[in-house]
């Protein structure tokens, strides 16, 4: 590495640090680390999974939002005509978020009471996995013009990178083959720090795969991903916009009528190969749970003695009743933020449609999308009984509530994507009401998802009324704030 390269990389890292600080990303990550640490302290056995699924991915979405924003603001184009090499660019983007991830993982692992001497390999696994994921996300974002395009493309590599390790962790996959996926070794190392080998017949670290070999293999993949990201980022950035198959805002069209928006959104879904799977995801989710969950539950009971049947409602709430509307809410927020950052919202503001109708249209379609998604996924999954129909009805409006919550705190894509994780905590927190009995459970009543959880057992009118009032209040309060912010 030349002196110039070191200097340039240092300069880029300094800029990145300032930019991330201005977006308050370190503060958000610190806040999340506190929440995760509290969870780890309460559920030590869940710590490796918490770190693997939540902590390690904390920067994955942020790096995409930063890259898409950088492209739109022209910074990427400027860097492409500067002496900066693609490798330096990738290092500057990946390292700060990688460091934040590792720093966030330290208190979580300690709170979960990681075994003495296992902290270093676990943190190395966290660092390398984060680097791999960040590089993959950066490569994808470098080829997408919008955040919607990035977020809809990202799941494809994430499914094997998370699905295989988790399947190996519960014993569904065994032997060395799952370790071909590099993140399998990372999760195994994390579990190793929490005494999993002694409890688990399928020991996470096979004798033939020592920790160093797993880390070296993970490092190799992280390096390959970084090179791939460098190549993707090095593609010449034209000064003029290139045609893209990803999301194009309907608000750029000349016809500002609500029906044309609907047509444009439908065109986006039909024409965009990435958006179609998002639209079909409730069907996929329902199908996977219908055909995959019962044998898994039976298998866990038979081989591990783990009885999940009594937790079915919790799983159904998490994976279907709350997950579907919250996903719709995120998509809705990202659509609005893409419109905001691209300047399309400015066009809407001075069109006959106006911001209020725009917002109403977006929230309406999000609610309808969540309702349709729930109507498909809930019965198909086999986990949501007919008696829980009130919970499903009260869950659909969580989509606009979440969209509004993100828009209430975000001024752009990066803010929005950074806010998704912390805002998700109060959304999922009411599931704790399942365990909190008596009057104490009502402490969570102001949270919008509380009523859907309470209404699970039966459609009691009082819960329905309470839910409607609570959700209505949240929507009105947040919508007023969002309308004010968007109008500025």
């Amino acid at each position: 590495m030349t002196v110039g390269a070191v200097r340039r990389t240092r300069a880029l890292l300094a800029v990145e640090a300032v930019v991330e600080w201005r977006y308050r990303i370190p503060l958000v990550v610190a806040g999340l680390a506190v929440a995760w640490s509290a969870t780890a302290a309460m559920l030590p056995a869940a710590t490796p999974y918490l770190v693997f699924v939540e902590t390690v991915t904390v920067g994955t979405f942020v790096i995409g939002a930063l890259a898409v924003t950088e492209r739109e603001t022209g910074v990427r184009a400027v860097l492409s005509v500067s002496p900066v090499r693609p490798a330096e660019y990738v290092v500057a983007r990946v390292v700060p978020l990688g460091v934040l991830t590792v720093l966030a993982a330290v208190p979580v692992l300690l709170a979960g009471r990681i075994a003495p001497g296992r902290l270093a390999p676990a943190l190395t696994a966290v660092a390398l996995t984060a680097a791999l994921l960040l590089a993959v996300a950066l490569a994808i974002a470098s080829r997408r013009r919008t955040l919607v395009g990035f977020l809809t493309a990202l799941p494809w590599p994430l499914v094997p990178l998370f699905g295989v390790p988790l399947a190996a962790a519960v014993g569904l996959l065994s032997g060395p083959v799952p370790y071909v996926i590099p993140t399998t070794g990372a999760l195994a190392l994390l579990r190793d720090g929490f005494g999993a080998p002694g409890r688990d017949p399928a020991a996470p670290l096979p004798a033939l795969l020592p920790a160093l070999a797993l880390l070296a293999y993970l490092a190799l993949w992280a390096w390959l991903a970084a090179r791939f990201a460098g190549r993707a980022a090095a593609r010449p950035q034209a000064g003029k916009a290139r045609r893209s198959r990803t999301h194009r805002s309907p608000w750029r069209q000349a016809e500002p009528r609500p029906l044309s928006f609907v047509r444009a959104d439908l065109r986006n879904i039909v024409r965009d190969s990435m958006l179609a799977p998002v639209a079909l995801s409730p069907l996929l989710l329902g199908g996977v749970l219908r055909f995959g969950y019962p044998p898994l539950e039976e298998w866990l009971a038979r081989t591990h003695g783990i009885e999940l049947a009594s937790y079915r409602p919790v799983l159904a709430l998490l994976a279907v009743v709350l997950h579907v509307p919250l996903t719709a809410g995120i998509v809705g927020a990202v659509f609005v933020l893409d419109d905001l950052d691209s300047g399309a919202l400015g066009v809407v503001r001075v069109s006959p449609v106006g911001l209020t109708r725009y917002l109403a249209y977006r929230l309406g379609t999000i609610t309808a999308g969540a309702a349709i998604g729930l109507a498909v996924a809930a019965p198909l999954s086999g986990l949501v009984p007919a008696s829980a129909s009130a919970a499903v009805v009260l869950a659909a409006p969580l989509a606009p509530v979440f969209t509004l919550a993100v828009l209430a705190v975000a001024r752009g894509r990066v803010d929005g994507i950074t806010a998704v994780k912390p805002l998700g905590i109060p959304m999922y927190l009411p599931i704790a009401a399942w365990w909190i009995t008596g009057p104490a459970g009502w402490i969570l009543a102001p949270l919008p998802a509380f009523w859907a959880v309470r209404a699970w057992d039966a459609p009691r009118p009082a819960f329905l009324a309470g839910g409607v009032i609570c959700l209505g209040l949240w929507i009105v309060l947040l919508a007023r704030r969002v309308a004010r912010r968007l109008a500025q």
Partner: protein
């Protein structure tokens, strides 16, 4: 043999999936210190040409060289020697104007313009500590220009530097570009702004459908496509009248001037916009 700052011969670019060349075999030679303007309608091939010359587009046929060396051989070192200003402002929105320039300046190896001098050069000293996102469009464009000048490049490629600016801001930008040429820098200007091209450029090329339709000095082009006549507007019995004369030497014109009633007097050379329409058959 003269070494040109920018050279192209037989330069040809065709994008995948298209049937026509975006750049259809152009020849070009720009001398050091020259301001060369590339004019033409959208889709004429101007930006593609600039992308080839700045190393952003690597798939081309023919020869393209900057500062005596083929563009493809330069690698990233090219960007130590050239500055590129984009049509749209490019900056970190969360950083101030000063922080933006400092951030970009740190990427170059050689001596760079002190940030305060760069800000002063584009009259942004007063807003140096304002975030880039909060600057007006004119300020952003000037910040854009300051960024391209930071590392004192030998060649400046500017794409529509006056785009969307009010006349005062546009005049400021033109003055800055003229100063760069006076300091010995070569400027390759891509623009629709006929005033900027006329005022700044030593030579201009009109590009149409990937080819150069005409290349010359603005003066020569205007004379070649204009009329050699003089038009006088004068007052007569309270009315404004107009008369055209073959030249200023015509006795009738001299007699008219002697009456003291002439209000305006114009030669009828073409404007650059007229030249463009004449050579391409299209409007700008």
């Amino acid at each position: 043999m003269q070494e040109f700052a920018i050279e192209a011969s037989g330069l040809r670019v065709r994008y995948p999936g298209t049937e026509a060349d975006a750049v259809a075999g152009i020849d070009l030679a720009v001398a050091p210190g020259e301001i060369f303007g590339l004019l033409g309608p959208n889709g004429a091939g101007k930006t593609t040409t600039q992308h080839v010359l700045t190393g952003q587009l690597r798939r081309y046929e023919g020869r393209a060289a900057v500062l005596g060396r083929p563009v493809g051989e330069w690698g990233p070192a090219l960007y130590q020697r050239i500055g590129v200003g984009f049509e749209l402002p490019a900056h970190f929105p969360k950083l101030t104007a000063r922080e933006n320039l400092a951030a970009f300046a740190a990427l170059y190896d050689g001596p760079v313009l002190p940030v305060r001098d760069a800000l002063a050069a584009v009259s942004l000293t007063d807003v140096a500590d304002r975030r880039a996102a909060d600057l007006s469009k004119g300020m952003k464009m000037r910040l854009n220009l300051a960024r391209a000048l930071l590392h004192r490049p030998d060649v400046l490629f500017l794409d529509e530097p006056t785009s969307g600016l009010d006349p005062a801001n546009a005049a400021d930008v033109r003055a800055i570009v003229a100063e760069q040429a006076a300091a010995g820098r070569t400027v390759f200007l891509t623009t629709h702004d006929m005033t900027a091209a006329d005022e700044l450029c030593d030579r201009v090329a009109f590009m149409h459908e990937g080819r150069f339709a005409a290349v010359d000095t603005p003066r020569a082009l205007k004379l070649a496509h204009g009329h050699g006549t003089v038009v006088a507007e004068y007052a007569e019995n309270g009315d404004l009248r107009r008369a055209e004369y073959a030249s200023t030497a015509v006795p009738d014109l001299r007699r008219l001037l002697a009456t003291g009633t002439v209000e305006t007097l114009h030669t009828r050379e073409a404007s650059l916009a007229d030249v463009f329409i004449a050579v391409t058959g299209r409007r700008l």
